[in-house]
Amino acid sequence: MPASDVIRVDAVRLRNVRRFGPDGLQLEGLTPGLNVLARPNEFGKSTILDALKAALFLPARSARAKTLVTQGSDADPYVEVAFSLADKSFLLRKRFAFGRKATLAELSSAVLPAVLKGSDAELKLTELFGTDRAEAGAPSLLWLAQGQGMTPDFSDEQVKTFSGMLGSAVTDIVGGDDTRRVEEKAAEALARIEDKRGKPRGALKDAHETIAEAETQIADSDAKLREAAELSNQVETLGRKLKRLAEPDEERRLVDDLQRAEDEAASARQVVERLGHTEANLRRLEEQLDDKKAALTRFETDLNALNTLVKRLGMADETDTDLSQRYSMAIDQHAAAEKAFAQATAESKAAHASVRKNLVLRQIAAAEAIAHDIAELRKKAQAPAFDQKAFKRWERQQLEAEAQIAADAPLVRLVTGADVSLDGQMLAAGEEAAVTGDGHLLVGDTEIRISAPRRGDAAASLTLAHREIAALLASVNADTVEDALAAEQDRIRAKDSLEARIGELRRLAPEGIDALKAEHADLPDRSGENGDPDAADRAVIRAEEALKQRREALIAVEKAQAKAKAERSASRIEHDALVARLGDAETRHATREDLHAQVERARDQIGAARLTLERLNTDAAASKTKIQAAARIKESIDQRRQERQNAEVELARAQATLSTLLGAGAEEERQAAAEKRDAASKTAERLERQRAALHLLLDTVRSEQAKRREATLAPVTRHLTPMVRYLYGDGSIRFDAKLTTEELERMVGTFSPSQLSQGTQEQIALLTRFAFAKLSADTGGAVPLILDDVFAYADDDRVERLFDLLHEVAEATQVIVLTCRERLFARLGGHRLEPQPFPET
């Protein structure tokens, strides 16, 4: 059972509070243990908690209570809370009228000497609940509104309340100001020399960098020093080389050698020179020989050309004669062909005329027969026409009149008896007849006339039709309509034939039969020798072809003559030119002989020159060796001088480089860098020592803080640990300085909150509250643990276990659970609250 000094709520009543409006709501008979109000969302469970907080902690005049007003109502929110403390009952009544007269705050109890009102009541509440605000004191820790279950952080006031429960100083939990200050300063100092990942920064990093830079500088200086040493060696080597090259005795010896060689070379050079001349002479003679040979060849070519031309001119004369003969023959042949062609043409003409004459005669006979037919047909066509249109009209009128008469005719029926006739037609008994005629009914002797008075017009129309038809037939001399129609057809046919025949005649004799007759008379009568015109025509074509060939032959001969004439004239010009150049035959012979003689002479000279050359060559081989020896000596001297010059240049360059290198003071640089490195190393060493010291200090301070916190929180953990184990089977919870769960230690590992599921986070937060509730019951001054829909993430199984724990908490202090999970909570036990209306009575 709860401790006796635990406050418990017995009843809550409210009216004109938010959705509950004037009907109000009351929760009666809350038990000291676990109470459950299970209602769906939107029932107003949170309103109940808000109303409770307002009633207990908001001054009745407070404007903050306006949030309680029912929407659209101006009624003042009214709340009653019945609660007890150590078996003493209190009743709190509050009406939030915001300063108006109706404002009410009243606390009554048998233990009070009188009913406390207004601020007296509120002061007493503060005293009883240990706080004047819901955000502070035990309610702030134990009254969890919807969504607060997850809130991990505690406010300073909550921490204060909490440490109050523990009877300890706040600093025991969050760490003393001193330790915090030391921790902060150490962390600050550490942050100056190492970053979050533990890498050096700031002065430490600088020191390391300085060391690296100095090492680089040292390496650089070493390289320079090595280079300088190498250069120095090089300078020495070059100096020795120069000394050797500048050795005067050696130089003098070489110059003497050269002098001697040059002397020998001088005479040798004369031989060589002569050899050169002879060679040049030989080359010139050979060129001359070539020239002579070319002149001779040219001359002989000209001679050959001249001979060819002479021959060609002779041949041209012969051709001329031949062509003249061919020309007169071609003229004759052409004339004969022309004559043959004229004859064939005349014969063809005669054959064609004879054929024509017979044709014309046959045309005349045909034309005359047609003319006769035309006369006959014209007569038939000129017979009178039968007006078929008029006939059709009158025939229709006749039929209509007859139909009219028949339709209008009265009927006569012989019922019994015999010997009755109508218009001459006998009627049998039972027979019926229409009176279409005159209507003479004879019954025996009795004559009866039946008249049809309205028949007059139809009869007249019929008569007129008969008359007109008769007149039409008479006009064509026909007795019957059939005759008239046949005659009309004959007439039309004759008219058509007439036109056809006229057309035929026009084709046969377009200019009339007389014109045909005249043509016939004009054509020659050659009945005796009537040839085949086609054969005659073929003869004409053959003659024409022969004539064409002859003409072409004639033209060919003419062209040949013209060409031959031109060629001969060209050959003549060429011939005359050659003769003019080469002279007459005698001259030409002399020239040829002379050219031959010149070639021979040149050949002799060349032979002589070659002999000389051979002889000189033998002498020159020795001379050349002497000259080369002199040149070799000279080259060697030049080379030596060049080498010396190069060495001088190289030495100067090496010395310049060396001097630059030495001038830079690499040695000093190196020493400076080495000293700098040593100094930086010392600094780095010092800072590393400091870093280690800071780490040690921080670890020690933090571990001290944790130790103290753990000791302080022991009363909480005493309650919490069994609950954690009940829920998870194992584990314990460690808190950090802000009372935030720092770690959940389980057998499977240690977890920081961010590694936990939201469900687990929520559950741990709740367990913490459970532990607070138990702790507050232990220490006195407890208020009920109120949970408003805080199981947002827990599954049913976990909620059941949490509920088991709540039952345990309820042993120590009152627990009120507001939940929307009706079905689940139906089987979890606890006292079920059944809200009732609370209207004004």
Partner: protein
């Protein structure tokens, strides 16, 4: 015949001092040029015209051009002084050596490099016998030729650089000089270089020491010798150094706790701005005392040209009371106690951590 001159050596111009912070480094570098002026002034005051530099004029075999140039400039400025420069182990002569570079730059008339081992007449009847280094490792007695110098002069002054036999604990074997060189060669005086403190090396043989100190070795330096051949065994020391380099040990005793102070260890009237101090704390100290010294020295460091200290040899005693004084009884006390435990179990970072804890707790 009496001959008076200034004997100096080991100028080591161009020494980089790279292990000092930039400002100090530049000041020390500059001072090595400035001391030339002071030596010249000293000579004038003593009415002598010859300054003999016994080797190691320059710090390096091949100094930078500007180092050579600036040195020549300083020397030529003192036109009234004859400068006799001897190559030493730091700056040996030879082909392509700095001495050749100097002559290419143009050596002023009053400056005389002594590159050859042969007598040089500096005045009537006064000859200098130089023993120049021509390489880094001569491995012989460069003064051997002094025994038959082939010179006719009344006064012979030996000028040499290197260790003297039987002198010092760790002689440089590269060019050992016999300790009785003056007697053996009938020298009026043997001017020696190499040893950075002023020191007698034998009869009428002295090391002048460096005119401008360059280390914390506690010996006589920062001076030149004014030599008079008539009293060659007692040359006059004249101070010319610009900076003082002091090495000081302070031994702490926890039972004699007192305010940190340098008064007891520094010479009176010391110019902080021209003093480089290397201080070593040793003995035993309570934690609070050590902290007090650190705070004090951090302040002092601002007025010295350079102040470095080491407490490696100092044993820190962390007394219960000390901790209580520093940190009260709260959580920090527990932290401190934990660190003390760490320290006692040999964690080298623990003492530093305690230091920092104290520092932060007080701030």
């Amino acid at each position: 015949m009496r001959f008076r001159f200034i004997h100096t050596a080991d100028w080591q111009i161009g020494k980089p001092f790279g292990n000092f912070e930039d400002e100090t480094k530049f000041r020390l570098q500059e001072e090595r040029y400035a001391v030339i002026d002071r030596i010249a002034e000293t000579a004038r005051t003593a009415s002598v015209t010859h300054v003999l530099v016994a080797g190691d004029v320059f710090d390096h075999v091949q100094p930078a051009d500007r180092v050579l140039r600036r040195t020549l400039d300083r020397l030529s400025k003192a036109k009234d002084i004859y400068w006799w420069l001897l190559p030493g182990n730091h700056d040996p002569s030879g082909p392509n050596s700095l001495w050749q570079r100097l002559s290419e730059m143009g050596i002023p008339n009053n400056v005389h490099p002594l590159l050859e081992p042969r007598p040089v007449m500096v005045e009537d009847e006064v000859a200098i016998l130089p023993a120049p280094w021509t390489s880094k490792h001569p491995n012989r007695d460069l003064t051997a030729w002094f025994e038959s110098p082939n010179v006719s002069a009344e006064v012979l002054i030996g000028l040499a650089h290197g260790s003297v036999q039987g002198f010092g604990s760790d002689p440089d074997p590269r060019a050992l000089i016999p300790s009785d060189r003056s007697d053996r060669s009938s020298l009026a005086y043997l001017a020696l270089g190499d040893w950075h403190g002023t020191k007698r090396a034998g009869p009428r043989a002295f090391y002048s020491g460096t005119p401008e100190p360059d280390s914390f070795r506690n010996n006589e330096r920062g001076q030149v010798l004014l030599v008079d051949t008539e009293n060659a065994d007692a040359p006059e020391t004249i101070r010319v150094g610009g900076f003082d380099w002091l090495k000081v040990d302070i031994v702490l005793h926890p039972e004699q706790q007192s305010e940190p102070s340098l008064d007891a260890v520094l010479p009176t009237g010391v110019d902080h701005d021209r003093t480089l101090l290397n201080l070593s704390l040793s003995g035993n100290a309570r934690f609070s005392e050590k902290r007090a010294w650190e705070t004090f020295l951090a302040e002092q460091a601002q007025s010295f040209a350079h102040l470095a200290w080491s407490d490696d040899a100092l044993d820190v005693v962390t007394a219960e009371q000390d901790l209580a004084d520093l940190l009260g009884e709260g959580a920090l006390r527990n932290v401190a106690q934990a660190l003390v435990t760490q320290q006692e179990s040999g964690n080298p970072a623990a003492l530093d951590a305690l230091n920092l804890l104290d520092l932060y707790a007080r701030q």
